[in-house]
Each structure stands twice: as structure tokens, then as C-alpha cells.
């Protein structure tokens, strides 16, 4: 820890304040080692720890990418929407997930675009985004492309973003009539997830019409718990199938041992939290 605690000042960097998105994209395209600064709540700690040494920070925070709108059966969320704003937007599953990130001050600054561009394997959003089949809009001077979140999250800390590109929007379906829950196990308040489980569930009568279970923090990137979903889909919901599904959720988890717990413990917690998430969703 010593070497981490010596440097509490960021290293020197230049600072760019673009007038508009195009200027930001142009600068980022021309300066491969420049970094966009959104909420800064992953970037500034990394600068302080000297994990990264960008030549320039490009201030994108004031660009007009701060919106949440419902269009047809889609929510379109500007990349610079803060966790706080998303937590208040009443988007099924995603708002609840946003409300569990960090602490209030972090949620006031941190943005969804920043979070997924950083792509910490223990972040909260990916559980929800993978369950929701979210799409990510990426913009460069060449134009826009829209990719599934599942393919966007190539590996831990490795989003599908090329030089000169910025995440500008996240799109999620509205999931009307769905029950949902995000359950997170933390070592202490405000920490990253030890295990995070997001559940979206649609019933017709007592039969499961659709089920989507996203897991975060237990793989290099978030995954769907396909085995657990299989166990539930088309079945009458009862304690027995929920127990079976929760058990099978462990198949989709390959956690590593670290300060937050052993791999074995985390795997067991996937079962516990999956069950809790399904039961909590059913109570809605």
C-alpha cells in the first residue's frame, strides 16, 4: 500500500475544453494518449495512483449528453447522465441499480458513460445492462455505431472503444410489466460489489414468460446466468424452481479470490443473491 499512498496528486497533464462534441472527438482522434473526463470518479483516483498518465484530459462533462428520454419502447440515456439522475428516472432495474452504486457524493458526479467506458469487472451497471440487452451508441468523426452491451464489454477494463471514439448514449428497452430487482453484496457501504445479481422477470399468471438474470463481479465481464434462466423459463414459479435456478446460477460464475472474499464464498453468494433477487422481484 505504501507506494499507493505516496502520490495523492495527479501527475501533470494538459487540459482541453472543447466547444462541442466534434471538437472533443477530433482532439481524441489526434491524441491517442488523451483521456476524456466525464464524472472523473474512476479517472481521477487512477491519476492519483499514477496508474495512467494521459497527455491531456478532454473535458466532456459540459457537452449536451446529459438526458434521459423515453422514445417508444426504449429509454435513451445520454452518456453523461449521472448515477443520481438515473436513480431518479424510474427506469425498471436500471434506476435501482444506479441507486446502489458507491455513495451519494459518488452518484452525484459519476456518469453511466464513464462507468461503462472504464468497465470495472465489479461495477454495478453491467449486471443490469447485460440482463436488459442494452445497446451502446459510440460516436466518432466517422459517424455512429450501435453495439450490444454484451459485445461492447470485450473483457475487464476493455470496452469496444477505438481511438477517437466516445460512448455517447445507452439504450435500454422499457420492460413494461416486468418485475425486477438488483441485489448487491458489499463488504462495506459504498464499495464495489462482491457479487451483484440483476433480475428481470415477466409472469403470465404464475408462469414465467421471460426471465433475465445478469451477474456482475464474478467473471471478467458481466454475464447472463443462462442455466438459471433455463430453469425458470416457461415454468410455474414456486420455491422449488427458484431454488433450482439459484443453484444453477453458480454455473455462470467464475469468481477469483481477493480481499473481498474467496472464490468459493463468492460462488455460494451468487446462489444466495440470485434467490434473494428473484424473491424480491416477485414481491413488486
Amino acid at each position: 500500500m505504501n507506494e499507493l499512498s505516496i502520490f495523492v496528486y495527479p501527475p501533470k497533464f494538459g487540459y482541453v475544453i472543447p466547444e462541442n462534441l466534434n471538437e472533443a472527438l477530433e482532439f481524441l482522434e489526434q491524441h491517442e494518449d488523451a483521456k476524456p473526463l466525464a464524472g472523473g470518479h474512476s479517472l481521477i483516483p487512477m491519476l492519483k495512483l499514477r496508474i495512467i498518465r494521459p497527455s491531456y484530459l478532454v473535458e466532456i462533462r459540459r457537452l449536451p449528453l446529459n438526458y434521459i428520454k423515453k422514445e417508444g419502447n426504449m429509454y435513451k440515456i445520454g452518456a453523461l447522465s449521472t448515477h443520481y439522475e438515473i436513480s431518479k428516472a424510474q427506469i425498471p432495474l436500471l434506476s435501482e441499480t444506479a441507486s446502489r452504486i458507491g455513495d451519494p457524493q459518488v452518484r452525484n458526479m459519476g456518469t453511466i458513460g464513464g462507468s461503462i467506458s472504464h468497465l470495472d469487472p465489479a461495477a454495478d451497471y453491467p449486471a443490469a445492462l447485460i440482463a436488459m440487452d442494452a445497446k451502446v451508441k459510440i460516436t466518432s468523426r466517422k459517424g455512429e455505431r450501435i453495439v450490444d452491451f454484451a459485445s461492447f464489454a470485450k473483457d475487464m477494463f476493455t470496452p469496444d472503444i477505438n481511438v477517437g471514439e466516445l460512448v455517447t448514449e445507452i439504450q435500454v428497452p422499457t420492460f413494461e410489466g416486468y418485475k425486477f430487482s438488483y441485489q448487491k453484496l458489499e463488504r462495506r457501504a459504498g464499495d464495489f460489489a462482491i457479487v451483484g445479481v440483476a433480475v428481470l422477470l415477466k409472469l403470465s399468471g404464475d408462469v414465467v414468460d421471460d426471465i433475465r438474470i445478469g451477474l456482475t463481479a464474478v467473471n471478467r465481464v458481466a454475464v447472463r446466468a443462462k442455466g438459471a434462466e433455463e430453469e425458470l423459463l416457461g415454468k410455474r414459479i414456486n420455491d422449488e424452481v427458484i431454488e433450482k435456478a439459484a443453484t444453477r446460477a453458480m454455473e455462470s460464475a467464475n469468481p477469483t479470490s481477493d480481499l473481498r472474499g474467496s472464490a468459493e464464498y463468492k460462488k455460494k453468494m451468487v446462489k444466495v443473491l440470485t434467490k434473494k433477487a428473484i424473491l424480491t422481484a416477485l414481491k413488486r
Binding site: P11, F13, G14, V16, L37, K48, D103
Partner: protein
């Protein structure tokens, strides 16, 4: 487009507790250091890693940890610190409540706690105990005085609901 080179300084304007300040900063300078250098020493540096909340201030109406905000990014912002709470020699109701309920021991976390409470009560004027605890989850007290801090915030909520405080600023 404005480009500031790594060795250059940039002029920023901050409105702190209602008064405008101009200063020059390197891009890497943190807001907490600028505030302290301008004399607002209520803004404490605790962990310097955005965990402890001792550096919490209100920026453009929202609570933030000023150790994790660049001063240059705060250019043009309105900042409120504990120094800006008392009016005409009278403590703010949150300060009064902290005093009356002995919500501090060493006092190091207190300014951050008070500013976070300020934001919490603006968001939710009548919080439950659980909401208060969640609300200050980004602020650490190592004297473990949370009980009295929670009590003080509850009491502050009641004070602020009195008619002489029609609406918190």
C-alpha cells in the same frame, strides 16, 4: 476549443459561499486544495481517495467529494462550504443540531458530515433513520459517533420544518 498545456496555468472563477474568487491553477490541481488555499479550511483532507467524505462540499447544488474534482473542472461553479452556512452570527440549524446532540468528538469528519446532511435534507426534508444512515454512507467518522450524528440530522430536519425556515437555501 481551449487547450491548456501541462505546464500552463489556467484562470478559473469560483463563487464560494456567495462571493466570487478568481485564481490560477495547474490542470492537475484538485478543488479541495484550491478551497483550502483560499482560506476555506473547513474542507478537510481525510483519505484523499474519495472514500471518507471529509472534503464534501456542495457544488452547483449537489454534494461532491472535492478531493475527486479538478479545480479546472469546477470553473464557474457555485460552491458552498460550512463557512457559508451561518447567517448574521447565527448557526445554521444543522450546525445547531450537531452542537446540541454532541454529534462530534474529534470534529475531523464534521464539516463533511454537515455538508452531506445539508444536501440530504434538501433532497429529503423528512428522512427516516435508515435514509439518514444511507445518506451519510459516503462519510466516515472514526470516533464512531454515528449515533449522535444520526440524531442530530433527525433533529435538524425537525428544526428546518419550523415556519422560520420556509425553505433551505
Amino acid at each position: 476549443m481551449k487547450v491548456v498545456q501541462p505546464d500552463e496555468k489556467v484562470k478559473i472563477t469560483l463563487k464560494i459561499n456567495g462571493q466570487t474568487y478568481e485564481t490560477e491553477v495547474e490542470p492537475r490541481r484538485l478543488l479541495v486544495h484550491v478551497l483550502r488555499d483560499l482560506g476555506f479550511t473547513s474542507v478537510h483532507i481525510g483519505c484523499d481517495t474519495s472514500n471518507c467524505g471529509a472534503c464534501t462540499v456542495i457544488m452547483n447544488g449537489k454534494s461532491v467529494k472535492s478531493c475527486t474534482v479538478l479545480a479546472v473542472e469546477a470553473d464557474g461553479a457555485e460552491i458552498l462550504t460550512v463557512e457559508g452556512l451561518a447567517k448574521d452570527g447565527n448557526l445554521h440549524p444543522i450546525q445547531e443540531a450537531f452542537w446540541e446532540h454532541h454529534a462530534l468528538q474529534c470534529g475531523y469528519c464534521t464539516p463533511g458530515m454537515i455538508m452531506e446532511a445539508y444536501w440530504l435534507l434538501k433532497e429529503n426534508p423528512n428522512p427516516t433513520e435508515e435514509e439518514i444512515r444511507e445518506g451519510i454512507s459516503g462519510n466516515l467518522c472514526r470516533c464512531t459517533g454515528y449515533q449522535n450524528i444520526v440524531k442530530a440530522i433527525k433533529a435538524a430536519a425537525e428544526k428546518l420544518s419550523q415556519p422560520q425556515y420556509p425553505r433551505q437555501q
